[in-house]
Symmetry: C2
Amino acid sequence: MNTRKTKQKEIVYQVLCQMSNHPTIKELYDVIHNENPELGQATVYRNVAKLVEEGKVLKISTPEGIEHYDANCKFHSHFLCSKCHRIFDIYTIESKDIMKMVDNSLHVSRVQVLLEGICNQCQSGVEK
Amino acid sequence: MNTRKTKQKEIVYQVLCQMSNHPTIKELYDVIHNENPELGQATVYRNVAKLVEEGKVLKISTPEGIEHYDANCKFHSHFLCSKCHRIFDIYTIESKDIMKMVDNSLHVSRVQVLLEGICNQCQSGVEK
DNA sequence: ATCCTTATTGATAATAATTATCAATAATAT
DNA sequence: ATATTATTGATAATTATTATCAATAAGGAT
């Protein structure tokens, strides 16, 4: 007996799966806590960390500091809007095409591509 | 008169330029503070942030949480070793090749590529 | 060169994010 | 059903970053 299946961990994972906006821990916790007031935030931290270790959840690091999380672990890239700070998915980049550009003596287990710029909506003047 | 040239800012930049190991703020501060005991850490935080804004310094975000900084702003990618946690430069990836894979209606101002894996040295069993 | 204005600094307090602690609870092997 | 111990919940502790504010100094004006 080394790792146990708990209601809390299942809730954390399920809620994250339903969120497609790459939430921060805080945003994830708020949603979870709303429907499960007894589920504490330390538990959210612990379980998200475990899910990341297990490879079931992706941690997205941006230059804006706070980490975002994504239950979609199939390779894809992200676009961060410097204005509205939202993260969008980019599916047109293939990891194998990036790997072609890397010396194959390197043992690469993960590739993360982050684009930064102004999203179409912010570009077209729709103000915050 | 809007922004001033200060000794402190110059020191922060020069020391970072001499460090090729992508230091964290703490590592940068330690080196700076060693030779300039009067230069406080809030000043390092402030000036690094300014240099990043001005585009003279690059902020590198990794899934390990803390930010690293790089005075080399010419496009290049990074390889993070999951074992020794060092960051290596990768020069074989071209940003224009990545941009070819992105819908060109998107206004992209920066591209960040991070590879994760085990570096050659850790791979070959040289223990920590 | 001296004076003025105010951006910047240094020291530290405040805030925010994350991790550690620990008794109580609950998952699972026996 | 019982025993073992991983996990939880609540909170304290820690760490990282930002804000505050009086003192300093950059650099334009005189």
